[in-house]
């Protein structure tokens, strides 16, 4: 970033683009041109800054001013006030809800204070479509140094770093490389798993969107270590932005001689192709993924043989997750000891989470292992929205579990999360508040599993259907107490007898909510009540005549005309017309409507 006096970084991640950040970039360019500043100030569309809640984000370098919720209309003012006159635009600064003051840079924003960025080191700093910016931040230096080592030496460093797979399983990465390296074969493959099927998670996609070269570099390093000449990235066709940036990055890497034949004059040949997924969660499972890449239905097969022995086209194949790869170059650049200094004894380094749900600061975060859930949710996430009460946090997506208040001080690492009945998963973290019904949440995840089960084995295909039926019965008010026990028994059978990881973990959301929210199940079954007021069949809406001012707001918003009443007189709901959409409840400013 040499010649320019100033840089304007605009978030070009999926979230901010949804709020028109690409138009902001364009408008900055025209505005700068108009002032004849386009030689001095450069506009860069970066990857995700992480603070999606407050997007679109605009950051000015070198003074590090951090603007939130910027719009196309603000561009002119930023250029005229900040860029030209050097005065930060107060109205776009982040407003700290705790101190009630304005904060100018990320170092002083609570959302960023406890984060440590390794995998996301370049997201929000560089233009992902420009390889030179990656190189300027030590990019491809690790590949250069690895090519001067023996493959076994480099593999040993990955082993020593203690890096474990970030795709969910947590298998030691260096060990996996070593096993694949030991296989003898004329061809081996390096596969990057970018399927990211967890609904409500966007970590891997954001890394590919924000820093594709870090994954490419790591795949080449892996190829060298295990003796593979070919890499494949398996990515969903639904992620057009990530695919596009990856393609650009691959071409640039080839132009720079960092992929292709005789990389950096070392005699090592390696190139990478893209394979497209088509929206099937089970294809994230490595054997299913390999079948899908071969053009078949993505159905898992029994392991062993593991892919490292017999994978793509029957050849030894090393499958790693996007985030796992993104860590690799840093381990070589900063050293094994440095990496080991972060995190806990058995879980080194950091983990990226997509923090979402009922927290104030939804976004993409990277935290050192060992941080507590409380720090993540309350310090980084800024607590629960609308001053509501925290109820649960779900990690591990459809394979994971719901944790409660009592787990908030558990340090996050692979083993601790499993010990308390959840799992790390790939990094989805969904926070729930008092308005969320845990039986419904369990049902929601099971609906997902039902959609996504490949149907190959019976426990998962039929067992989950039965589980779901019982949950429907309970949430519609027809459950009996024995149903709860049946959920537990059936859930455990499915776990023990399913063929692949999907079925083996699919009852977890049910089992963990049973453990932690047993009373809520009981209330549904015995009292026919949904304590959170979410299960439509168990609640109805009522207007309290004493509190109703007759403002007519509910009357005007009810989509089915179920509310009637004179102006300034109490209103009333016709239960036979009401569809229980809850709009009146949300709209009422006088708390006159209650869920009973």
């Amino acid at each position: 970033m040499a010649d320019y006096k100033m840089h304007i970084l605009v978030c070009g991640g999926t979230g901010c683009r949804a709020s028109q950040s690409d138009k902001i970039v364009e408008t900055f360019k025209t505005e700068l041109e108009m002032h004849g500043l386009d030689d001095e100030v450069k506009v860069v569309a970066t990857g995700c800054f992480g603070f999606c809640e407050k997007g679109p984000i605009v950051k000015i370098i070198p003074d590090n001013t951090f603007y939130v919720q910027a719009g196309v209309v603000d561009v002119k003012d930023i250029v005229e006030e900040h860029i030209i006159k050097g005065r930060p635009l107060k109205r776009l600064l982040y407003h700290d809800p705790a101190t009630k003051s304005q904060v100018t840079d990320t170092a002083h924003i609570d959302f960023y204070k406890k984060q440590v960025r390794i995998a996301l080191r370049n997201c929000g700093f560089i233009n992902p479509e420009n390889i030179e910016e990656y190189i300027a931040r030590d990019g491809y230096a690790a590949l250069g140094s690895v090519l001067e080592m023996k493959p076994s030496e480099a593999t040993q460093m990955v082993k020593d770093s203690g890096l474990r797979g970030r795709g969910g399983g947590g298998f030691p990465t260096g060990l996996k490389w070593e096993i694949t390296a030991k296989e003898k074969s004329d061809q081996k493959y390096v596969v990057c798993n970018a399927d990211e099927g967890d609904p409500g998670a966007f970590m891997d996609r954001s890394i590919l969107e924000g820093d594709p070269h870090s994954v490419i570099e790591a795949m080449a390093i892996c190829g060298y270590c295990i003796g593979a000449g070919k890499g494949l990235v398996y990515i969903r066709a639904e992620y057009p932005l990530a695919i596009n940036r990856l393609k650009i990055a691959l071409n640039q890497a080839r132009e720079f001689g960092l992929l292709g034949n005789d990389i950096l004059g070392s005699g090592f040949d390696f190139d990478i192709d893209i394979r497209y997924g088509a929206g099937a969660f089970v294809c994230g499972e490595e054997t299913a993924l390999i079948h899908s890449m071969e053009g078949y239905r993505g159905e898992p097969t029994v392991k062993p043989p593991f892919p490292s022995v017999s994978g793509y086209l029957g050849k030894p194949t090393n499958v790693n997750n996007v985030e796992t790869f993104a860590n690799i170059p840093v381990i070589f650049n900063k050293g094994v000891e440095w990496f080991k200094s972060i995190g806990t004894e058995n879980s080194r380094g950091t983990k990226v989470f997509a923090l979402a749900g009922k927290v104030n600061n939804v976004g993409l975060i990277e935290v050192p292992m060992g941080i507590t859930l409380r720090e993540v949710i309350f310090d980084i996430g800024g607590g629960i929205r609308g001053g509501k009460k925290f109820k649960a946090v779900q990690t591990g997506g459809p394979s994971g579990g719901c944790l409660t208040e009592q787990h908030l001080d558990t340090p996050i690492d692979y083993d601790n999360l499993i010990a308390v009945g959840s799992m790390m998963g790939s990094g989805g973290m969904i926070v729930m508040d008092e308005d969320d019904c845990m039986v419904s949440i369990a049902k929601f995840y099971l609906e997902f599993t039902l959609d996504e089960s490949c149907g190959k084995c019976t426990p998962c295909r039929i067992g989950n259907k039965r589980l779901h039926e019982i949950l429907v019965k309970i949430t519609s008010g027809n459950g009996i107490e024995e149903d709860i026990e049946r959920l537990r028994v059936l859930g455990n059978v499915i776990k023990e007898t399913s063929l692949c990881g999907l079925g083996q973990t699919s009852p977890n959301p049910v089992l963990s909510t049973l453990d932690n929210f047993y009373d809520e199940y009981l209330a549904h079954v015995n009292d026919k009540k949904c304590p959170a007021g979410q299960c439509k069949d168990l609640v109805h809406y009522e207007i309290n005549a004493n509190a109703c001012t007759g403002c007519t707001l509910c009357f005007r918003n009810c989509p089915v005309g179920a509310i009637s009443g004179e102006k300034k007189m109490p209103h009333y709901i016709d239960q036979s017309l009401c569809i229980k959409c809850g709009v009146c409840f949300e709209k009422c400013r006088f708390k006159a409507i209650s869920i009973v």
Partner: protein, 163 residues
Amino acid sequence: MPKVKLSEYATNTVKEVCASFNNSEGELINVLHQVQQKLGYLPAEVQELVAKELNMSAAKVYGVVTFYSFFTMVPQGENPISICMGTACYVRGAEQVLDEFKRQLKIEVGETTTDGKFSLSALRCVGACGLAPVVMVGEKVHGRVAPTDVRKIISECKDGCLT
């Protein structure tokens, strides 16, 4: 399902795409991606032709098409509406939004209105969880959608159609 004869355009498209992948069976998924991108959907007749071109059974092609949720056998509406049903959107009320779309358009998920104007689908995490609940109409993302916004979104599309 009544058989329709494929248009010459469709037939040529399928043949060209298959040829560009050397009519190789292993490229089936890539072929289907490109054909769907060009024709919008993958009806039975298209699948049969793909099978013939790649020299494999139509049952295998059908097996793959139905396995992956990205592939569709029905044409999309002029305004394909997708409601994100990822977890983040779900806990912020996506289901109520979906219900309201179903009610107003009088169709279920996976269906298209009889006038061909709207189709409804559910997808999982658009990657804009900060804007939850999220609704996509074509490429356009609507964030923080409440059930009361549904009418406006639909009528915006209708206005768009007229011009």
